[in-house]
């Protein structure tokens, strides 16, 4: 049996999917979820083969939900989102259905998924989907992280500094640090360039957190943050920091 999960905050939007899926006798809906938190839980628990995912949902949107999954399943987006925004993900998602959609259109998406399902490179496509989804403007001002089973939404201004940690980035805030599977250059790209500066290969700091800059060894410097953290500044990072601070 093929396992599917429906994630949409509108009950009627889920019921039409369930109705359309009735003709697919080899697929069973293991759970219906009304938000991304439930979605993460259900996906971790059931490991479905296919999910139907709405984009605009309470608390965290569909893209942010996908980011939180270690092994994301195949996704068919269902959205009233405008078509142009979705075009960007066309290459990566199995398909996207613009609400309202017909049974014929639904069947076409299912056919696409079946072809895709048999191919082995599906996982990579999902990963690149998540990469491009992160470029959504409404995700610039916050980061969604998962620590254990807890999901936390961190507004950008609460980030004190970022630290590279192997394949992850450690996000330091007033109440602890969180790991996010992203690259430093990704954060350097999306964070507000007026507030954040990459002072070192492994560090991005928030300007307003800096209390003073101290010389360190010969030619080196350290940024001392309000929290007391001492962040090394590289040779290339120092002039960048100086120009932003206007000194």
């Amino acid at each position: 049996m093929i396992k599917a999960i429906l994630i949409d905050d509108e009950p009627l939007a889920r019921s039409i999917l369930a109705e359309y899926l009735q003709s697919y006798t080899d697929i069973s809906i293991v759970q219906e979820c009304s938000d991304g938190f439930e979605g993460v839980k259900a996906i971790t628990q059931h490991q479905p083969d296919l999910i139907f995912l709405d984009v605009q949902m309470p608390k965290i949107n569909g893209f942010e939900m996908l980011e939180l999954l270690d092994t994301p399943p195949a996704v068919i987006f269902t959205t009233a989102f405008d078509e142009y925004a979705m075009k960007a993900f066309e290459a990566h998602a199995v398909d996207y259905l613009l609400k309202p959609f017909s049974k014929e259109r639904f069947d076409k998406a299912m056919k696409k998924w079946k072809e895709h399902y048999e191919k082995p490179d599906g996982k990579e496509a999902i990963q690149s989907l998540i990469e491009s989804a992160s470029q959504q403007p409404d995700q610039y001002n916050r980061v969604v992280v998962k620590t254990g089973s807890k999901i936390r939404i961190i507004p950008m201004h609460e980030i004190q500094y970022l630290e590279a940690d192997d394949d992850y980035v450690k996000i330091h805030t007033a109440d602890g640090s969180h790991l996010k599977k992203k690259t430093m250059s990704y954060f350097e790209e999306v964070l507000d360039k007026v507030q954040f500066v990459r002072v070192h290969r492994s560090y991005i700091i928030q300007i307003q957190q800096v209390t003073r800059i101290e010389p360190y060894e010969k030619e080196g410097h350290l940024a001392i943050l309000k929290s007391g953290a001492r962040i090394p500044i590289s040779k290339t990072g120092y002039p960048k920091l100086k120009s932003i601070l206007g000194i």
Binding site: E10, L12, A13, D35, P58, K59, R142, I153, H157
Partner: protein, 345 residues
């Protein structure tokens, strides 16, 4: 440049009448001094006829071309030249037409006085016409500017009110599509509500005031549709007093505010959400408070966008020329938007 409204036709008659009066006066002064009536009439007709011709020509020139404010000296010189040419022509013509030697001696003696009078007359005519046409053009420009302002204001109002979110429409259509299979009666009912709601958004009189009762009815249509979409998650509470129901409000003002409240209420929590709408009339104005729950932890970052109320603020400003009619407040996990609608009556 187009000729100003105050046309020649309207003004030409009083101008001619004035000249005839002036000419008669001059002829009378001449007969009083002992000249023949015929001589007096010829003198007056020639000098004043010419002067009138000059006056009308100057008027026509000024209608299409007016020297700038700083060029009075230039006009003065022109005026002097015109008066000089005039006196030359008058002297030549009168000495051809009249042979009486006493008169010719008088004509010769009176040349400086005549020149001075002509100089003053043409000067005055030029000045009066200059002022008149400038004034006309100014008021014309003012009117055009006012018209343009009004047009752009109307267009802006229209645009502001048209900001119905396509998201709402497509999701509603999707709900209808879903109901069609399982509960066709409800689907039909929802189509009806959506149609009534859309009809309201298509009314294109942005300045139209409707009674609060009508506005609330319209809002109810919208809320009913949203309740079908979100099911049990959304509930609403509307409080008002009977007296307020008759008071006028700009049409379709509340719906975007409520839509905003629903959006931030529902997308900010995963539980059930109650939106309250509280109408009070006080101090000769209507105060409508719309409340939605929010999560201060996560919605902080959204506050920057002004909660999508800037277009409503702009609309209120265009309607009432006041910027203090919309207020937002966030406390105890409740976000309140208060709109004041002045009641001028």
């Amino acid at each position: 440049m187009q000729a100003p409204e105050l046309s020649n036709r309207k003004m030409i008659f009083p101008i001619i009448l004035l000249w005839i009066a002036w000419g008669t006066l001059q002829a009378w002064v001449l007969t009083w001094s002992g000249f023949l009536l015929q001589t007096a009439i010829i003198d007056s007709a020639v000098s004043n006829g010419l002067l009138m011709g000059i006056g009308l020509t100057v008027r026509n020139i000024l209608r299409y071309y007016r020297p700038g404010r700083g060029r009075f000296f230039y006009m003065f010189v022109w005026n002097f030249c015109i008066a000089a040419i005039w006196i030359g022509v008058v002297k030549w013509a009168l000495s051809q037409l009249i042979t009486d030697p006493t008169y010719l001696a008088f004509l010769y003696k009176s040349l400086p006085v005549r020149f001075f009078i002509a100089f003053l007359m043409t000067g005055w005519m030029a000045l009066i016409n200059w002022l008149l046409f400038s004034f006309e053009e100014n008021s014309e420009n003012e009117k055009r500017k006012a018209d343009a302002d009004k047009l752009s204001k109307d267009a802006e109002l229209y645009k502001l009110r048209q900001q119905l979110h396509p998201h709402f429409l497509f999701n509603s259509l999707n709900s209808i599509s879903s109901l069609t299979g399982s509960r066709p009666e409800e689907a039909r009912h929802m189509i009806q509500q959506l149609a009534d709601f859309l009809r309201g958004t298509l009314k294109n009189d942005e300045k139209l005031l409707v009674s609060l009762e009508e506005e609330l009815h319209y809002l109810q249509l919208y809320l009913d549709i949203e309740k079908v979409r979100f099911g049990h998650r959304l509930s609403t509470e509307i409080k008002y007093d009977e007296l307020s129901l008759k008071l006028p409000v700009p049409q379709m003002l509340l719906q975007p505010i409520v839509e905003n409240a629903i959006k931030f209420g529902l997308y900010d929590t995963t539980g059930t959400v109650t939106i309250t709408i509280n109408v009070k009339s006080e101090n000769g104005q209507l105060a409508i408070a719309i409340q939605n729950p929010f999560d201060p932890q996560t919605s902080q970052s959204r506050q920057g966008t002004g909660f999508g109320l800037s277009s409503i603020q702009r609309r209120l400003y265009l309607l009432y020329a006041r910027k203090d009619l919309i207020e937002t407040k966030a406390e105890n996990n409740l976000f309140t938007t208060t709109v004041i609608i002045p009641q001028t009556a």
